[in-house]
């Protein structure tokens, strides 16, 4: 049990790397930095392989239970005396451990995260070779790996949240890596804050779970969920809880309406986009929902919401992707769209299909991003596809691997994406044909925009603006191309791990995941598997056709796109094109209405509008009240002076004189300090008291 027993070391390897960078990074050579940081991830990968292998051997003997390793009590006093009241009135104590859990679900994530992560680290040594802040970059990357591994391996929601926030932070740091650029730091802020909104949902969801179950350990939560017999009220709370968790997932996995940060996140270096914003971090939402499957199953309404949001996101993002010109943005919207697919799968109850898509997607999307990075590297930083073209000869390795990835994502049979996507579509059909229809349309669009990308970049005539750039185009170094090749390999063959029965496959991954999704299978069991039916094959054929159609359309439109080519959509429906190009104006809408970053006329709405109003309120009303009290006091003091001056001396002293002598002494109006006035006040006081008491 060398690896399994010390599984807590897994996140610590990259953490050590990050710590070394933090303290000594500035003084280290680039080579040393690479060695330390890549080395730590390689170590983590090897350890992950070892641990998973050991787990696979260990599990059958232990009833396929998850392996749990608790290091120490993190939150809570560990005496059981710090209690709270559960929803049913019983006591539970606050406890969140620094504990790690390995089961099939986390195994899968563990493997592809460390694997892809390792490749991207290697790729980065080449990509970032000429950039400043090398150590900083790798420190952040390592920190990200640490957070991601914590997220994956956590044995309770709170520790998961640690990783969850940690990856958000690293995403923030890495998006803002080029912090001198305003757009980069803006995007970083946006990413973090939008994620925080999701996190707020996550926290609340967690509290609901703790309130209902009395614990946040996955094992406890699952056993609570499996125990059954819930009152309607509890089920209602469970629905709320799962919906809140899903809000968190929406934030992290860029679903409607919180997807807005992901396209902007492309401001970061490309390896970051590949690692964080395509392969790993953004799937955390999927992971979380899959992890909480026992609860989601109990809340069908939440499941429906997940499915609908997933489907809508898929088609929404895909439609935007149709017309984007920035190569990374196309991929970003593609990612959002694919994540939508995954949630669609989860929502319809096909958890393992969703997980499988995550798995395959990790490879081909990472590959796409890295390929895009390679293209950008070759083009000296140019990202606009309108200024590319005809690169297939010049960067052949990149070109070939990109082709593989495109075929995979488009769902061409034989490539990884086909298997996973098709499984999802089939499950969606079983749930409701409408969802399938959306998924199908999305598949068509996916194929179109991916091939559009391919044509515009590699095949169509060159539209490169400057000769210098054109002259400079070169294939990337080995450190970058080798990861591409490895990823291409997996983009083809990863799919064969879970070929469905209808195609004679064994569904290895489904079987492997079975203990995790036990509740799902139990629930589905009565419905019964009707075996591969005609419908399934028909649908499969339809989606293959869609993929092909997309390809053909793209080829027709962009195969010979020269300078100043026209977009087919722009030609057909200019308003639609504008809307799509401007991403349905969602960012603008948010800026005007939700955040208030932009003013609507003279009025600022949204949070900042509220903030402005509060600020005004604070300085004018509240502090105003305080100051007014002071002001009134002082003016009362002034008033008593004034009173002495004008009323007492003016009316009291001068008034009668004025009346009697008809304003003959206007110049003497200002006389004060008179003894007799004092005496008069005394007398008047005495008279007042006397009248009061004698006639009271």
């Amino acid at each position: 049990m060398l690896f399994l027993g010390h599984i807590w070391l897994l996140p610590l390897f990259p953490a050590m790397g990050a710590a070394i960078m933090f303290f000594f990074g500035r003084r280290l050579q680039k080579a040393t930095v690479s060695a330390v940081c890549v080395g730590s991830v390689v170590l983590a990968f090897l350890m992950a392989c070892g641990a998973v292998l050991q787990y696979v051997n260990w599990a059958p003997a232990h009833d396929h239970q998850p392996y749990e390793k608790i290091l120490y009590t993190w939150l809570g006093s560990d005496t059981g005396h710090l209690n709270f009241q559960k929803s049913d009135g019983t006591r539970a104590s606050l406890q969140a451990d620094a504990g790690f859990l390995l089961d099939p679900l986390s195994s899968i994530w563990l493997l592809f995260v460390t694997g892809v992560g390792m490749l991207i680290h290697i790729y980065s040594t080449g990509y970032m070779a000429h950039e400043g802040g090398y150590y900083r970059f790798f420190g952040y990357l390592n920190l990200f790996m640490f957070s991601m591994l914590t997220l994956i391996l956590a044995n309770n929601y709170v520790l998961r949240f640690v990783g969850w926030e940690g990856v958000g932070l690293c995403s923030y740091l890495l998006i803002g890596f080029y912090f001198q650029r305003k757009s980069a730091s803006d995007a970083a802020n946006k990413a973090f804050i939008v994620n925080r909104i999701g996190d707020a949902g996550f926290i609340l969801g967690m509290f609901f779970i703790a309130w209902l179950c009395g614990s946040l350990r996955f094992i406890d939560v699952n056993s609570f969920a499996h125990a059954g017999h819930f009152s309607p009220e509890t089920l209602q709370y469970l629905t709320t809880a799962t919906l809140l968790l899903f809000v968190g997932a929406c934030g992290k996995s860029a679903q409607l309406p919180l997807y807005v940060w992901l396209p902007d996140a492309m401001e970061g270096p490309t390896p970051v986009s590949a690692l964080i914003h395509a392969a790993t971090m953004v799937t955390a939402g999927v992971y979380m929902v899959a992890r909480s499957n026992a609860l989601f199953i109990l809340a069908p309404k939440s499941m429906l919401v997940v499915a609908i949001v997933g489907a809508l996101t898929a088609i929404f993002a895909a439609s935007i992707g149709l017309v984007q010109n920035d190569i990374k943005r196309v991929l970003a919207y593609s990612t959002v769209s694919q994540l939508g697919y995954m949630f669609l799968a989860l929502g319809v109850g096909a958890f393992s299909a969703g997980v499988f898509h995550v798995f395959t997607h990790a490879f081909f999307k990472a590959l796409l991003f890295l390929g895009a990075g390679s293209v950008i590297h070759a083009m000296s930083g140019e990202q606009d596809m309108r200024n590319m073209g005809d690169l297939s000869e010049k960067i052949p390795v990149t070109f070939r691997t990109m082709c593989v990835a495109t075929l995979a994502i488009a769902g061409i049979p034989g490539f990884a994406g086909f298997f996973s996507k098709d499984e999802i579509l089939w499950q969606a059909w079983k749930f409701h044909p409408a969802l399938w229809a959306i998924g199908f349309a999305t598949a068509l669009m996916t194929s179109f925009y991916m091939f559009r990308l391919l044509y515009l970049t590699f095949w169509s005539p060159s539209r490169v603006v400057s000769h210098e750039v054109e002259h400079h185009v070169h294939e990337s170094p080995k450190s970058m191309t080798i990861p591409l090749v490895i990823l291409a390999f997996f983009s083809i063959f990863a799919g064969y791990l879970n070929v469905s029965e209808s195609m004679g496959g064994a569904k290895h991954i489904d079987k492997f995941l079975e203990p995790v999704f036990a509740s799902v299978t139990e629930k589905e069991a009565p419905a019964g598997e009707s075996g591969p039916g005609l419908t399934e094959y028909l649908l499969m054929g339809l989606s293959i056709a869609a993929a092909g159609a997309g390809w053909l359309m793209a080829r027709r439109a962009y195969g010979n796109a020269g300078k100043g080519y026209t977009e087919p959509i722009a030609a057909a429906a200019p308003p639609l094109y504008d809307t799509l190009l401007n991403k349905y104006y969602v960012d603008e809408g948010y800026d005007y209405i939700a955040t208030g970053r932009r003013k609507l006329g003279d009025v600022r709405l949204g949070v900042m509008g509220l903030a402005e109003a509060s600020s005004w309120f604070d300085s004018h009303v509240i502090d105003g009240a305080v100051n007014a009290a002071g002001w009134i006091t002082r003016s009362t003091a002034a008033f008593s002076s004034w009173w002495d001056k004008w009323i007492i001396d003016g009316i009291g002293v001068n008034g009668p004189a004025i009346l009697a002598r008809m304003l003959s002494y206007p110049a003497r109006l200002f006389e004060w300090g008179l003894v007799q006035w004092y005496a008069l006040v005394m007398t008047a006081g005495l008279v007042g008291f006397a009248f009061y008491y004698v006639y009271h």
């Binding site: 993190w74 710090l82 926030e165 932070l169 912090f179 730091s185 609340l204 509240i622 305080v626």
Partner: protein, 557 residues
């Protein structure tokens, strides 16, 4: 045999102040050295308290009690009685630590009237420690008021351009609250006399715990509520709760850096401490009174004000143009969490609240130091004056980032632990309260990150910023303890929870006798207690911890 460690801790800074009196004021460096040595000594003498307290952290009642009731002014029954429990222990340690750090941070910041500065500062230190140690209401009040004076002078003499306004506002505002508290104290005093047999006049807090709750039945809810309010104003102004907060931004902006650190780090905690130590146990029935006041119960109002404070403070921070003011308003938001946790009246909320008070002391203290460092170099705090500071001061930028993250409650840093516990404690009481507080967390990220972006990111646009020096070793030294504490609490908060367990459960038992308390033989710790990283020796074995008596219910007859 009484232990005198509390008195030693209490008067160590005062000794330093008296010593400084005899140093000629021209010799500035000597004064600085002596002040720093005494500040460090003040911190060091408090360190032995850690193992001593740790050994008896689960035992009920106050520890290290010193003096006897009525030994100071026998004729009115006021005594010099000191004693601590877990809550005050943590706050005392925070005070000694921050006191040392702020004195260290003033080395170059204070150039004129150095001697006075340090004398007043050390004096202030004693006042604050006294507040947390006093077990006699009268002694408490004396310290509470006495510490206003040095703070007033620190703001007023060494402050910014509007220092007079700020200093007077601070003094008057706080005093206005506390005088009403004095009347409340006197009421309790007479009530105690009237219900005890034989009739005794005393200010002893432990004694008053027994009688004060009876006011509700003796005089009716209205009087009890008014009495609660008389305490409430004192504490709410100190905290400050919305809408009594406007002295805070002014005081912070004008105060010298070290003053701000102490103000935010320790002074504000006196308000929350007062709530926990006095308001809750004295007026349990007011807290649980279902009758409404202007449409809400008293407790509902407290929660409401806390929630408003959280959101409102964050919103106002968002719009600030002055860095220090931004941090000041963020304090309003953070302290909103603390009061929310207190009035949630659950053990979790309460312990989270105390922990968050410590956290706020650490992170906001550090934030003020951070602002102070820029101010010392550029003499402006306008955010617009900066930009791209990361390029010229990378170490500074890194430390700032960590502290910002700590302040916004990122997990594995201290802020998260407190906020999470508070929110959970509140949520378990009423999930809507918890839900309303959560936007504060989001907004915290917004205002802090935006600030960071504007100050640190981008390129250096202002030529004046091009030649800024990065941190000196002394400045780094001021941050190191804070960073260590931030990570410690973030990674391993268990010792803190254990220290807080007994007082928190005890307090809740006093406020809500019906709240389920831990069983007598609760489960033993599941894992052996680990020696904390700071080298605090563990003298209690798990078995000892499990056999230690659970908190007894006191004060409710």
């Amino acid at each position: 045999m009484q232990s005198h460690i509390l008195s030693i801790i209490l008067f160590a800074p005062l000794v330093g102040a008296l010593f400084l009196l005899f140093v000629p004021k021209e010799n500035k460096d000597a004064i600085r050295w002596i002040a720093n040595i005494f500040a460090l000594a003040g911190f060091l003498v408090s360190l032995p308290l850690v193992p001593m307290f740790w050994a008896q952290r689960f035992e009920p009642g106050f520890k290290f009690v010193e003096g006897a009731a009525g030994n100071w002014i026998p004729s009115i029954g006021a005594g010099y009685v000191l004693g601590i429990d877990g809550i005050s222990f943590l706050l005392i340690m925070l005070t000694t630590l921050l006191g040392w750090i702020s004195i260290l941070s003033s080395w170059t910041a204070i150039e004129n009237r150095v001697k006075e500065y340090y004398i007043w500062f050390l004096f202030l230190q004693t006042g604050m420690l006294g507040v947390f140690m006093a077990l006699d209401f009268f002694l408490f009040f004396v310290f509470w008021e006495a510490m206003l004076v040095p703070m007033y002078l620190l703001i007023g003499i060494w402050g910014g351009p509007r220092k007079l306004y700020a200093a007077i506002k601070f003094f008057l505002y706080t005093l206005a609250g506390s005088v009403l508290m004095l009347l409340g104290i006197l009421f309790l005093y007479f009530h105690h006399h009237s219900v005890t047999n034989p009739q005794v006049y005393t200010f002893s807090i432990v004694e008053l715990y027994h009688t004060a709750p009876q006011i509700y039945s003796d005089y009716g809810p209205r009087v009890a509520t008014l009495l609660f309010l008389s305490f409430f104003f004192a504490f709410a102004i100190k905290v400050p709760m919305f809408p009594f907060h406007t002295w805070l931004p002014d005081a912070h902006v004008e105060a010298p850096t070290a003053g701000s650190v102490i103000l935010a780090g320790v002074l504000l905690k006196m308000g929350t401490y007062g709530f926990i130590r006095f308001s809750l146990p004295f007026f349990p029935n007011v807290m649980t009174n279902p009758a409404t006041l202007l449409g809400m119960t008293v407790r509902g109002w407290m929660i409401f004000l806390s929630l408003v404070g959280i959101i409102y403070g964050a919103l106002v921070s968002l719009m600030q143009k002055d860095m220090k003011k931004l941090v000041a308003y963020s304090s309003v938001s953070h302290l909103g969490f603390c009061t929310l946790g207190i009035f949630a009246l659950t053990p979790l909320g309460l312990s989270g609240s105390v922990l968050q008070q410590i956290n706020h002391g650490i992170s906001t203290g550090a934030l003020f130091l951070i602002v102070g460092i820029l101010y010392e170099r550029r003499h402006t705090r306008e955010i617009a004056e900066y930009g791209g500071i990361s390029n010229v001061m990378p170490i500074y930028a890194t430390i700032t980032m960590i502290m910002f993250l700590s302040s916004m409650g990122l997990p594995l840093l201290n802020g998260f632990v407190g906020e999470f516990t508070i929110l959970q404690g509140t949520f378990m009481e009423n999930w809507k309260w918890g839900a309303w507080a959560v936007p504060g967390v989001v907004l915290a990220a917004a205002y802090l990150l935006w600030l960071y972006q504007r100050v640190f990111f981008g390129t250096v646009t202002n030529p004046k910023n091009e030649k800024l020096n990065d941190l000196t070793p002394r400045e780094v030294a001021t941050f190191v303890p804070l960073l260590i504490m931030a990570f410690w609490i973030g990674l391993y908060p268990k010792p803190f929870f254990q220290i807080l367990e007994q007082p928190v459960n005890h307090t809740i038992a006093m406020v809500r006798p019906d709240y389920p308390q831990p069983a007598v033989n609760a489960a033993a710790p599941t894992a052996p207690l680990v020696v904390p990283a700071s080298g605090v020796p563990t003298t209690t074995t798990p078995s000892a911890a499990s056999t230690s008596a659970p908190p007894k219910m006191k004060g409710t007859k």
